[in-house]
Structure formats: C-alpha cells, structure tokens
C-alpha cells in the first residue's frame, strides 16, 4: 500500500516517543526513517524500523546518549558516540564536518561507539543540501569473505560520496558487497535468480542463486579482489581515525553495535562547478543504452524520481511490516 509521508513519519515518532526518545530526537529519527522509505530505500526505512526498536529495547542503542569530543587536531576531530542512535550521531558528525569545512575548506570527523546509520546516503544528501561535497563510510559486522578466503571476516562497509548539483545532487551510496543480505533474501523469497552473480555456491562457483549464496555465506565483494581490499582499508580508516572498534572487534562483541565511522566535508570553492557537473553528466548520457529506450542514470537520479513519486502518490509500504510497526 501507499501512505502519505507525514502519516508514516508520525507513526515512527509515536513509537519512538513511547520508548522515551526526547521530542527532538524522536522527530529527527522519525524523519530519517520516513525519508529512507520515501526515497525507495525500504530496507533501511520502514523495513528496518522494528529491528531498530528491538535494539533500543535490548539496550544496544542508548536513547539519551550524546556524542562527545574525545580528541582532534585542526580540522580533524574524534568523537565518542556513546552508543546513541546511529542516525543522530551520523547527522551530528556530518554537520560538524561541514562546519569544519566552512572554516577551513575541508573537515574530517571520526566517531567511535556509534550505531548503524541505516541509509548512508542520508548523510551524503545532508552534505549536498548544505552545498558541500560529502564523503562518509562506516564499518559493519563481518559479513563478507576476503578475496581468496571463505569465512566472512570483512564488513560490507558502505561508502558514500555526494556532490552538490543544482538539478539534483549526485549521491553515490554503495555497500562493498555486490548484494546485501537483505537483497539476497528478497530475491530468495520471490524465488528469482539474481540478475548478476552475487556470490559463490558451496562448490565455489560464481552463482546467481540467492539460496546457494545464503547457504555458503560467500557474498561477492564488488570487483572481486578489489572490493575485498577496499572493504579492508575502509575498516582501517574508520578504526584508526576514530580509535574505535574494528569489524573484528564488533564481530567478536556479538550484536552489530559500537561501530566506527568517518565523515568528510569539502567546500567546492570553484566558480565553474555547475557547468563542469553538467558537462560530465551530459557526456555520460551520450552513451547509447544497451537496450533501446533505456536511459543512463547518474547516482542519485533515480532516488530523486522515487522521492517525487512518493510525495505525489504516497510512500510504498510492505503491508505486513506496517501492521507490525502499528502494533509496536
């Protein structure tokens, strides 16, 4: 079904207030969850909300926690998230990075002991809305084998890069695994093969069968050895810069909590920016599409279309999960 954005947000807020979120924090969290569904990232909008609430009830997320500055040097800062809601900590850090970039051209904020930020793109859009280039990444619990190995010891550590653009911001929001576990489960439940290889089966063959990949737990890093290396270095960056917990420490600790993240903002000071961005996007779109009538998209373009559609026609919901949330 489809419902208006405000009704979705109000429902999230109702549940959060009942769990003793302050008015401000409930408002901000509800906004982010509702925006994630509005933008088509259902896995980190409505669908994830019950898990988030369970984490709050289990005490893995500290409702009242505030981030505190632990250290820093110049435009580089280290914060402790005190296990607060990941979205609030992440918004705070990107905002702080933007302030540092306003002062000095570039700012970098690392945070330890935070929680899942849901959709990483949220903080890319946040930077772009502020007229800043935004780059952020996080570690996760181990869920992907390294190249040449079969046991999941790497996170799928999402990377977000956003560039402000008048006609619609360019926002790349990608996990380093080809498909998330959520996506594999979705294809499995629909009894459909993946459109492209997403991991290995038990025999070690590249596979488009979501069930086989979920059994082997060998999800594919993007670009094989390249994604494996990228995931490792992103974990190094967030852990070293925040002095926080690595994928190793998070995984050994049990639930996916106490993550490390980095937020970078850069002020685009050039005067030719919009023209240069248009040039790049329009040149990319000159490629003939593989299938006649198809279109080449830049990252974030489809998000914006989904957003506009959601605001026009209502936000799409999974009925079962919606009923579950209404019962929380």
């Amino acid at each position: 079904m489809h419902i208006p954005f405000d009704i979705l947000k109000a429902e999230f807020k109702r549940v959060l207030l009942s769990l003793h979120f302050s008015e401000d924090k409930a408002e901000q969290c509800a906004q982010i969850f509702a925006e994630n569904s509005r933008d088509g990232v259902y896995t980190h909008g409505l669908n994830r909300f019950p898990t988030f609430i369970q984490y709050v009830k289990d005490g893995f997320i500290a409702v009242d926690a505030e981030p505190a500055k632990e250290g820093g040097f110049g435009s580089l800062e280290q914060w402790d998230g005190h296990y607060g809601p990941g979205m609030l900590n992440a918004s705070f850090c990107m905002n702080r990075a933007i302030e540092l970039a306003e002062e000095n051209g570039i700012g970098c904020v690392a945070i330890k002991n935070t929680n899942h930020w849901m959709r990483g793109g949220t903080y890319g859009w946040q930077a772009a809305e502020a007229g800043m280039i935004g780059i952020c990444f996080t570690n996760t619990i181990a869920n992907m084998p390294p190249w040449g190995g079969i046991d999941p010891v790497l996170g799928n550590n999402p990377l977000i890069i956003a560039v402000p653009h008048d006609g619609g911001h360019v926002v790349l929001d990608m996990a380093i695994s080809q498909y998330s576990i959520g996506k594999l489960n979705l294809y499995k439940s629909q009894n459909e093969p993946l459109p492209l290889p997403g991991g290995y089966d038990q025999e070690g063959n590249l596979s488009t069968d979501p069930s086989a990949i979920l059994e082997s737990l060998r999800v594919l890093p993007i670009g094989f050895w390249k994604g494996s290396g990228l995931s490792l270095v992103l974990d190094l960056l967030v852990t070293v810069l925040s002095q926080g917990r690595s994928t190793a420490a998070i995984t050994k600790g049990g639930p996916e909590s106490g993550l490390s993240q980095v937020f970078i903002a850069i002020k685009p000071i050039g005067i030719k920016n919009q023209g240069l961005i248009e040039e790049i996007i329009s040149y990319t779109k000159t490629s003939r599409p593989e299938k006649e009538g198809d279109e080449i998209f830049y990252p974030g373009e489809k998000t914006l279309r989904t957003r506009e559609k959601s605001l026009r026609e209502g936000v799409w919901l999974d009925d079962g999960i919606w009923e579950k949330v209404k019962g929380l």
Copy 2:
C-alpha cells in the same frame, strides 16, 4: 631477464637527460619508473616508459613545467600542473597535502592540467612513508561504458588509499575497471582467458575472452552499476575540486593529457594505531583460504614481497621493451 634496480634507473635517467629533463627531474622520474617495475607494476614501469617518452617528444608533456597555485581556502588548495610530467606533479601535490595535514590534521590538494601519474600507488606509498593516511584519485580518458550503456564515456579513474603500518604499509591501488586494457592485451597475447569475467562480448554477454572484450570495448566496471557510479563521482570530484578537465573534455581533446587529480592526506593522530591495524589484518587472515595452502593478503603485502625479491634478485624486464628503451 632480471637486472639490478640501479642499472634500470640509470637507463631511464640517461634517456630523460637526453630529452632535456633537468638533473633533478630526470632523477625523480627515473626513480619512479624504476620503482614501478621493482614493485611488479611493469605496465607502469619499463613497459610504459616508451609511451611516456613519445608523449614528451610529441609535446603533450612539458618537460620544464612547474605546478603553480591557482586558488584555495584553508587546507584545500587548487594547483595548475601546466602539463608537466604527471609523476612530478603528483609527488608534489601529495607532498603539499602532507604539509597541510601536518598543519591542520587534513589537507586536500587538487590539480588540473597534469598528466598521467603512471602508478597511482606511488603517491599512496609516499604518504604512508611520511606517516600519513593518503587518498588520491585521477580521471582518465574515456575507456569504460556506464552501467546500462555500451559506449565508453567514463574513465577507469583509479582510486588509491594508503594507511601507514609498521610491518608494511597498506596500499590499495585500484582502477575502477575490473581489468585494464593492458591486462586484457596481455591475456590476449598469451591466448589465455581471464580468470573472471572482465567485460561483455559483442552480443552483450559477460565474458572471460579478452579478444571479445577488446572488440566490444565494453570493459566491466567493478561491481557493475556500483563501479560505474564510483567512476562518475571520482571524475566529478577531481574536476570540481581542481576546476580542470573532466573525462569528457579530455576525451574530446584527443590524447590522454591535461588530467585532473585530487590528493588528500590525513594525520593519524591516535595512539592505538599500530595495535588496531594489527587487529584488523590478523583477523582478516583468520579466514580459511579457498584453496588449501593459500594465503589471505592485505593490499600492498604482495607489492612489498615483489619489491624485496626485485632488490635481491634483480628487477624483471621484458627483453624486447628493454632493448627498445636502450635504443631511445
């Protein structure tokens, strides 16, 4: 054949001096070319040297050019490379980013009108040797189709991330295409299939046949749509931050010259760094290998082994190209 590092370097220097490189610049360029072969990146060491020399002779590389500061704000600087040798400009910019990070925790230097930097890893190693986290990326001439398209309108825009580490720096150095055109040609010349799909054939099927991919010119971005998006945003970042030429402008201009690049250095100010890095690397290595007896490597680990072997046993050379260089 294998020859000592110093002889290889001396030969490069001889040729460069004959083309009116200053003593300093010839020394530095020769060092970088020799190091690239020493580290096993032959495609951007000896093998690339004749092309570099041809570019100098054709006037696409200005032997005497010096980079000049064009603008900036705080720890963010914009430089013009004046079409000088790409390796010298890149070394200069990473060094400048390191200076900015020493002053302020993080520094970002963007350069326009530069040339091919050969091996991007060179500047990652440079940052790590200085005790800094180094991140750099470049655009290139268009050589890869965007996701959903068939014409090459994106660069394979390499991304380098380096983290200093006492036991051997972690240096990720990856192009965004799964295999470079050079690698495809290498497999083709050896009449061997690629170990993994590297592009599409003329019928639009994923292929491990290097000849089929070279015919279609549809090389595969890492992670399919993800690499396509990553390549686009890296081009946006280098172009916007340097106010320089995009992949579109470079491609329309003809030869691969006048590139745009970005260099970021971050000072790892935490006191627990080495322990955290060890934890991450050692945990990653706990994954059972896919093939018994195999080993899990971190990015840069094999490079260091090749380096040590080259210094012990001599640097491996392609005899034919070596003869060609001696005749230059």
